[in-house]
């Protein structure tokens, strides 16, 4: 069957890309081949715009066991253990069908982790929605959270951390990024590289249906809601749980030489990638693929994104053993082909060849684009706004909405700051009995590693607003903040995974944001010594040409040598409270400006990476040494909100002894609510704080005694005097308890 003129546009290939395809293939493709190229050369699979940029990111360190390129990255955390992790987006499906979109997002990232031979031990997520005054956004939030919980809870993997942020740019295009962490022994790490011609290719898990056809392509074009709902995959966590256990059991033996999950672009991408990574060929017959529907064409089988499927490359003599293990888990394994030595991916349909393409054409020949970026004039104007024109808060302490205290209550109730309890309580975060620092208790999650005295910490962060105002600086902040959150619980940051959520890169302003953010991220990763070991790119996140705020989410993982020495937000009666770090707070890009004045404006706070590293190492060292057990990053809402969050978490007030504004800023609002990196509040008993302050001396790190924890009020004479219960009530009010 010949390809009709323009037919390639149905699989989102441009005219130039189609010409390139014909050129490298040396002939016109078959319809199936065209579909396979459309999927493999989509932005989602081919990283057409991001690949040239991603090469800037540092990916190596002594403790990195596996960098980008495999299903997930892996790092050494000591005692012979490897921690495997990755974050992935499922934005477009979640925009259309939020419960299933989010659920299958979790399913996909979990498969990436156990494909590496690691048992998944934790999930995190990073979410973005439009404002909750729109019913559609409440529906999306409720169903995304429901989907994440529904899948993760059933799998028995605790969801231990995450973040959520609301802004009108996410109307119609929510962001749903799921991160999974697994653990295994160094020697048990598995790679997805087919090898050994003659080895058999087996498909394990769910039968193949028509769901998710061309999902990868659909995620790579504007306005996904225009596409039909039929492309959304439906998740079955029960099946995935069986698949997980079967695969981990199989990997204990030697029969399986490679494993690759079926994600975006289904069988096409898993066969191509497995063959291409291993430098071999593969021949499969779609007639041997078990179907859940009748009358499916080879095209549909090859491009289905049915969930809960895994491709195995198995030594021929082990096939029977593999089948028996899989069947014991109530699943079936079908032999669908074998590894060949000619480097060609050959697809048969009942013996007839329907596609025959050298694997490298799908991967190495995928076009890449380096475009001219230019910042949108509107963004430049926002950043350049003269913030001195904004009226300061009045100087008196009356408890009305104009006072510092009134403003604090207003900020605590902001959906971007408010308690996340109504979200994280819908996730099982105690299963596996490893959760040392649970959601809401500390700046990062801490998990113990059984059989060792160690622990790991994980956090995921990104200030989308900073990135909208200055993508280079914003991405640096994302890395610094994720890393800072790890040190606040006492972990040494080791590596990150990233999820780059951006708009259309074909537009100069979109490409500008993407390229600047990657450059900023690279700079921060180098300075803070946290390489990128895995990641994912999601472009074309826009609705009606309005792009989302650029959101390069950073998931960071660190290690605690002795997990008993960790820190939380909770201080104790009589603890001395100290601010570590002397960066000047700024109103630029702050939550205060947004919440109070409705402005997304100004330049995000400057970030001195050298100073950042000093502050982070100082605090991490003190927690690791057992000196400090209370630490909290000053994030959105600045110093006042950070103090309030600690008071709320502890149920204990604080009395501030110094005139805060005097030392911080000549503006009252900036002193209390301005934001700056490299600022961490710590608290401890007088003698421990003395020791800590002595350690800090001579380290070029500023540490300022603010006051003493105790009583039931947050009190800063002349500025704030509010009951902790009142702060807590405001904090709880910001997100709906149930958004049905």
């Amino acid at each position: 069957m010949a390809i009709a003129p323009g037919q390639w546009r149905e699989v989102a290939l441009s005219d130039d890309e189609y010409r390139l395809l014909v050129d490298v293939l040396g002939r016109e493709p078959t319809p199936l081949e065209l579909g396979m190229f459309g999927a493999m050369w989509s932005e989602h699979c081919g990283y057409k715009h991001s690949r040239p940029l991603l090469s800037q990111l540092p990916t190596e360190a002594q403790w990195v066991l596996e960098g980008p390129g495999e299903n997930a990255g892996a790092i050494d955390v000591g005692d012979g253990l490897a921690v495997v992790f990755k974050v992935e987006s499922h934005n477009h499906p979640s925009a259309v069908e939020p419960y299933e979109g989010a659920a299958t997002g979790v399913g996909g990232i979990v498969r990436d982790i156990f494909t590496m031979g690691a048992r998944p031990i934790a999930l995190l997520n990073s979410l973005r929605f439009g404002p909750l005054d729109l019913p559609r956004n409440r529906y999306l939030l409720d169903n995304v959270v429901g989907g994440i919980g529904g899948y993760g809870n059933c799998l028995g993997i605790p969801t231990v951390g995450g973040e959520v942020f609301f802004d009108p740019s996410f109307n119609g295009n929510p962001l749903v990024n799921a991160m999974c962490i697994g653990v295994t022994e160094h020697g048990a790490l598995m790679r997805a590289r087919a090898s050994g011609p003659g080895n058999v290719i087996m498909l394990v898990g769910a039968d193949t249906g028509r769901d998710g056809l061309h999902g990868a392509t659909f995620a790579s074009v504007d306005d996904p809601t225009a596409s039909h709902r039929g492309v959304i995959q439906v998740g079955n966590p029960f099946l995935e749980k069986l698949l997980l256990e079967a695969c981990l059991e199989l990997l204990q033996g030697d029969d399986v030489v490679a494993m690759q999950d079926l994600g975006a672009a289904g069988l096409t991408s898993s066969v191509v990638e497995c063959a291409s990574r291993g430098g071999v060929g593969a021949e499969i017959d779609v007639a041997l693929v078990p179907r859940r529907e009748t009358g499916m064409s080879a095209y549909e089988v090859m491009l289905s994104e049915s969930q809960e499927r895994m491709l195995l490359v198995v030594r021929p003599e082990g096939a029977a053993r593999v089948r028996s293990v899989v069947e014991r888990w109530s699943l079936h394994a079908s032999q669908i082909g074998q590894v060949t030595d000619d480097g060609v991916v050959r697809v048969l349909d009942g013996g007839t060849i329907v596609a025959e393409v050298p694997a490298g054409l799908f991967t190495d020949c995928c076009p890449t684009y380096v475009r001219e970026g230019a910042e949108a004039l509107e963004a430049t104007a926002r950043r350049s706004l003269d913030l001195t024109t904004i009226p300061d808060l009045p100087g008196d302490a009356e408890a009305d909405s104009q006072s510092v205290a009134g403003c604090l209550l207003h900020l605590l109730a902001s959906p971007n700051i408010a308690s996340r309890r109504s979200i994280y309580e819908r996730y099982d975060h105690t299963i596996l009995a490893n959760t040392v620092v649970a959601p809401g208790v500390g700046d990062a999650a801490v998990l113990r590693l059984r059989g060792t005295g160690r622990g790991i910490a994980a956090a995921i962060d990104c200030n989308s607003r900073y990135c909208a105002l200055d993508p280079y600086l914003g991405a640096m902040h994302a890395v610094a903040e994720a890393s800072r959150n790890l040190v606040c619980v006492g972990a040494k940051p080791l590596a990150i995974t990233n999820c780059l959520n951006f708009g259309n890169p074909e537009r100069p302003s979109g490409y500008f944001q993407l390229s600047q953010a990657v450059a900023g991220m690279a700079a921060a990763c180098r300075a803070l010594d946290v390489p990128v070991v895995s990641g994912n790119v999601s472009l074309y996140n826009e609705t009606g040409e309005i792009p989302v705020m650029p959101t390069p989410a950073v998931g960071a993982v660190g290690v605690l040598e002795d997990v008993r020495n960790h820190a939380s937000l909770r201080w104790h009666d009589g603890d001395v409270v100290v601010l570590v770090g002397g960066a000047a707070p700024s109103l630029g890009g702050s939550e205060y400006l947004s919440r109070r004045h409705g402005l997304t404006a100004g330049s995000p706070p400057p970030l001195d990476l050298e100073q950042e590293l000093l502050v982070q190492r100082t605090v991490q060292g003190a927690v690791e040494a057992g000196l400090i057990r209370t630490a909290h990053d000053c994030g959105l809402g600045g110093l006042a909100v950070a103090l309030a969050e600690m008071a709320i978490a502890s149920g204990i007030g604080v009395s501030i002894d110094i005139d805060v504004p005097a030392g911080q800023s000549n503006r009252r609002d900036e002193a209390w609510f301005g934001e700056a990196p490299g600022r961490i509040l710590v608290a401890g008993a007088e003698k421990d704080i003395q020791t800590f302050l002595a350690l800090v001396e001579g380290k070029r790190v500023t540490a300022t005694r603010l006051g003493t924890a105790g009583g039931s009020r947050l009190a800063a004479p002349g500025w704030i005097d509010v009951e902790v219960a009142e702060l807590a009530a405001a904090h709880t009010s910001g997100l709906p308890g149930s958004t049905q």
Partner: protein, 234 residues
């Protein structure tokens, strides 16, 4: 000490490994996973049905697991007086199997909830409660979507009269209040016993409360009761 703890494993169980390691590593007794297809529990001194989503919770929580081959052995083990503990999904399975009365309905909020709760223990005439005194308050986590205990009034009254209501959700001081009942359970019931006092079902997770490092170790109070029964094979 002889005997061992049998931790059942159904397809979709996800608390089986937690229960296994709680008994092995934290209580320090022999514990083994027993596959749902097994039909014998030879030599086991106690049987635990763990949490999870057995058979994907399809149809109704626990409704399919009830028919698993191993359940016939669990029934005869229980009928011989052997101690049986059902945690969360295990509790749901025991009610479906009619080894315990009542049923677990969808939470009042219709949502899954995971958080730490306080439980006031009342009737303690049960093989699993040899270390717990009536009136004691323990702190354990819950994590479930279908945890609202329900029984008709007659059954509830009979459970109360027989001392089969083992624990109720309460606040930190042991008082019952509308906010201390996390899921809308009838009479705030979190745990019940069978009439003979050898079968216990509870929604909270003692196997996740085995060390102060992970939030508390009150669960060990309950799990350590196996030390008293382990010497006695059933």
């Amino acid at each position: 000490m002889s005997g061992w703890v049998a931790v059942l494993s159904f397809p979709g169980s996800n608390g089986d490994r937690d229960a296994l390691s709680a008994f092995r590593d934290d209580v320090g007794v022999e514990a083994r996973l027993v596959d749902h297809r097994e039909t014998a529990l030879e030599g086991a001194s106690a049987v635990v049905l763990p949490g999870g989503f057995s058979y994907g919770d399809h149809l109704r929580c626990g409704a399919i697991a009830r028919f698993a081959p191993v359940m016939a052995s669990v029934r005869s083990f229980a009928n011989r007086g052997g101690p049986v503990l059902g945690i969360c999904n295990g509790f749901q399975i025991l009610t479906e199997a009619h080894l315990l009365p009542g049923a677990l309905l969808r939470n009042r909020t219709l949502q899954f909830h995971c958080h730490w709760t306080h439980l006031r223990f009342e009737g303690c005439d049960n093989a699993w409660l040899s270390n717990i005194q009536p009136g004691e308050v323990l702190r354990l986590p819950v994590a479930h979507g279908d945890g609202a205990f329900f029984a008709d009034l007659e059954t509830l009254d009979r459970l109360e009269a027989n001392g089969q209501v083992i624990a109720r959700y309460c606040d930190v001081d042991g008082r019952l209040s509308p906010t201390s009942n996390p899921n809308g359970s009838s009479r705030a019931i979190a745990a019940i016993s069978n009439e003979d006092g050898n079968v216990l079902g509870l929604m909270p997770h003692p196997e996740r409360a085995t060390s102060p490092l992970i939030g508390g170790d009150d669960g060990l109070r309950l799990l350590r009761s196996v030390l008293d029964v382990l010497a006695v094979p059933v």
